[in-house]
Symmetry: C2
Subunit: 251 residues, 2 copies
DNA sequence: CGCTATCTTGAGGCGGATCAACCGCAGTGG
DNA sequence: CCACTGCGGTTGATCCGCCTCAAGATAGCG
């Protein structure tokens, strides 16, 4: 279940095939020389459904996601789940506060996934050789933190339909940002309605009703992991996101 | 409204007066040489209620909080608010994704506050001189991110009383961690019930009822900004936090 | 073709929001 | 000294959004 075949139909030739994933590697931000090239990072692959690391267990490496979708999640003792974050290519995973501490959340591959891993022990040497690496790492983590704050506001203060709309819009924009210059209004979104519920703090039953409403209102269709944005303006309105801000994301 | 006079009554002499605030400065993690000493960071003060930076405006410096409490928050168009994070001494504020971008959240001083500020422009030179600085920065931000994930789970999946208990317990533990070796069960918590509501996604009315229940059950008392933990074990149970984990925090 | 995961739809209940008083207390100004 | 004001907390009545439980329907897959 890779991302291939799910992409947009018309895609500009040339650089756009090089995904702008903004990770730790060399092609991400040209103005900063890259480190990973000089450090022999080892690639790993995970199948959809596998855990990259697990809740309550130690994790001795950080992962730089190069292909696929990963969710970070928390489990409650009664089996319910809260999805904390959707990681897209470029994300850094597993940089935890405190060396060799237990992870306080898990990471599961939503699709087949490839990552390059760097042991925690290697971080200090890398940083000494390439000081910019540390800043870039901080920058990537700060972005994830900002996304977490965003979802905190959504879950804490918005109604069900706004939460779902917000989630879909954000994922759509983040996905699209990986293929700059590309105009799409449809994408493969590897989620079940249960996943959407776990991310928005709702039950899958209620997510289903909300999606039905959004479809009836001609805003979005989400059916069997295919997301279509029918009316972007309405979606932005329902998601309670500043249109100005959306423009700045799209660039 | 400084923190003085609010501290615990019996405090071990000696090192415990040096607050372990784990910030960017030299006394935070002895194993890593510090940077800020070599960079002439400028101190600033803010009064309680003032904004360190505001939602939708640019912010050209990062702040290292040295004294006081700061909240990060979001405002909705209808005037409601979501508190995203409580920053305690040692925290790094204003390191935003993307240089000179608009802040997507605001920061307000809950008490009188002192910070040392470092312009964004100075970060790259600092990192080049002291590479560990970048790692420490990333580490601090990752910790905040982890706390945000924690609250996401609480708000998304727990009942009102669990959310409130979770918040109070976390704040208590984080406050106490600043004074290691100190046994206290009472603290000055500079929050209103409205603040607690804005942090937990509840209304102040409902927070009031929940606090009443917690008081009746002999778990905690929170009255006019004074928090007393009556029954820590029960609180840990209600907050749905792994007792093992709590122990590891307390050390 | 049966099995399982996912989606769909309905009925009923509850947790927390909303609306609306009222209290206690600290200023503050006459 | 007391009236006035404002903030924060307290309490009650009512309402509604979302959860829960339950029973199909549909799609994907070996």
């Amino acid at each position: 279940m890779s991302m291939s075949g799910n992409g947009p139909t018309k895609r500009p030739l040339g650089t756009c095939f090089v995904r702008a994933h903004r990770g730790l590697c060399a092609d991400c931000r040209p103005e900063l020389p890259c480190v990973v090239a000089s450090y022999k990072s080892s690639d790993r692959e995970f199948e959809a459904g596998q855990d990259l690391f697990s809740l309550g267990k130690p994790c001795d490496s950080i992962y730089n996601l190069t292909e696929g979708w990963v969710i970070l999640y928390n489990l409650l003792e009664d089996g319910r789940r809260q999805i904390l974050h959707f990681a897209l290519p470029g994300a850094v995973l597993g940089f935890h506060p405190g060396d060799s501490a237990m992870m306080t959340y898990g990471a599961q591959a939503l699709t087949d996934v490839t990552v390059s891993s760097i042991p925690h022990k290697a971080l200090l040497p890398i940083v000494k050789q390439q000081p910019e690496f540390g800043l870039r790492l901080a920058w990537l983590i700060a972005r994830d933190c900002s996304l977490a704050f965003d979802r905190l506001t959504s879950i804490g203060r918005h109604s069900a339909s706004k939460r779902v709309a917000h989630l879909l819009l954000k994922l759509f924009i983040r996905y699209r940002a990986q293929w700059p210059g590309n105009q799409i209004e449809e994408m493969h979104l590897p989620l079940t309605q249960e996943d959407i519920g776990d991310a928005t703090g709702l039950t899958s039953v209620h997510v289903n009703r909300v999606l039905g409403d959004l479809r009836k209102d001609g805003i979005v269709k989400f059916h069997y992991r295919r997301l279509q944005i029918i009316n972007p303006d309405k979606l932005i309105d329902v998601a309670r996101i500043d249109p100005q801000l959306v423009l700045s994301w799209i660039r």
